[in-house]
Symmetry: C2
Subunit: 280 residues, 2 copies
């Protein structure tokens, strides 16, 4: 255990949220939680393989995560075939870590197993509707989160790759995903070659409420967050300056507004329907 | 750090998955990961309050979790008002911990902030479609997972309460959720009064694949899992015996098939549409 775990956790949280926290925890608990509070993204890796047994342990940890009604509606596909990895990487050359990370897995939502079980047990399944998708997305996301935490705690590093949903049709074909199974996100991992950094997040005043949802002050709080974040980690470049020019004050909200000012994954709903998810 | 952390983790995983794992990790890393691998649900709590500052720290940890494209499309509503808590508890008397847990929060998906930001920054938002919901569900689920891990690591215990989605309309009204915000799940927490137990999970042969999704052997693997799980933790009672009788071999798959043999949350898609989520 590190000697200053409470101070470490306070430092991580002040960097993350720009506000102070008391940490009413033992040193040992603070040491554990500082892994979660201090989460960092890693996309650059040492030239060192991830032991297949370690990858199996990490998958087991992911599958130990909570699951809606214990339905376990998520799957992991380990990408081992170098040719398959190359093809996936070639779809998204803007993310070179998809090719260079020592290991890659893809998390899938699985709305197939539950109706399968119903059939095997001779039961009707009157639940082929939006809830099936909703639960399976949640289950896949929770498993991915548990995987990320396990990766971090094992001393490895990694990053989710939701870009694979921009190519859902091809990925489904290559991974031979059957009906009612769809990719949630990829995940690239390895032994990190850099420290990474803490991503500053919205102050809790914006997204933690008491008793009632209240975001009347969100706009001014987000403007302050934009400034804090830019001061800590200035954007390397402005997005689409040919369309939007160079903003004098460029922050998180300007960047996200520009990112989503063009249509993205507009065909994803149609893809889910083709995978036989009923969204009614 | 506990002296036998690798052995502890091996024991948790063999109980969880019914198979052996080598743990190619340091003692220190194994100690951290055993919290995730050994995750237990807790629904019975000591009569001891959760310090509000500790709850704030746990919310901060949850909001430190990964988020799709850093969009942060999730919110937490802390349920503090005793009357509000009583009303929520009265909706689901079959889950008494909703009333008795020392603290409760509700995780929400937020598809509102992104179009809000677009408006504030004078940008178009051509992304009001299924992807907005999908991303926000994932973000809410990831934050809930990170919260659960933080609760566990702090020495507290808790459980998600997705039943609140069975009452999405009322919960939305009571929490004053605006358009494009919806509940993902509640979470009850406190200082646990019992050890809890490890929930056995499907063997990795069912849901961890290599290169290609392949579940041809799932039926027999699930039958073996049913037996293993029943031997470890026999079902206390069979579900709906008046409809389905008393099965001689009653396991996970029979239980889940019975649970979903009746229509559940069939109106949830309509609710999401009323909250102005576009599912096309």
């Amino acid at each position: 255990m590190k000697p200053n775990s409470i101070r470490d956790m306070q430092q991580a949280l002040v960097e993350r949220f720009g506000e102070d926290f008391e940490i009413p925890l033992s040193d040992e608990a603070a040491d554990r939680l500082s892994c979660l509070a201090g989460h960092r993204v890693h996309r650059d890796f040492l030239d060192r393989a991830v032991d297949p047994e370690l990858l199996r342990v990490l998958c087991a940890c992911a599958m130990s995560a909570p699951s809606k009604s214990d339905l376990q509606q998520r799957d992991i596909v380990i990408i081992q075939d170098p040719d398959l990895r190359r093809r996936i990487g070639a779809l998204m050359p803007q993310y070179p870590w998809v090719l260079t990370a020592p290991a890659m897995v893809i998390f899938c939502l699985n709305g197939r197993r539950l109706p399968q079980i119903a059939e095997w047990r001779g039961k009707p399944f009157p639940n082929d509707h939006c809830d099936l998708l909703f639960n399976a997305v949640g289950d896949a996301a929770i498993a991915l989160a548990w995987f990320q935490a396990s990766v971090d705690m094992a001393g490895l590093g990694g990053c989710p790759v939701s870009e694979i949903r921009n190519h859902a049709e091809l990925i489904s074909e290559w991974l031979e995903l059957p009906e009612k199974v769809a990719p949630y996100a990829g995940f690239c991992l390895g032994w990190p070659s850099e420290n990474g950094h803490i991503t500053p997040r919205l102050p809790l005043s914006v997204n933690v409420h008491t008793d009632r949802f209240a975001d009347g002050h969100a706009r001014q709080d987000i403007e302050a967050y934009d400034c804090r974040r830019e001061a800590l980690q200035p954007a390397r470049r402005q997005r689409d300056p040919d369309v939007w020019g160079n903003a004098e004050a460029y922050g998180w909200s300007e960047d996200k507004a520009r990112q989503y000012a063009v249509p993205l994954r507009t065909a994803f709903g149609a893809y889910l329907r083709r995978q036989k998810f009923d969204l009614t």
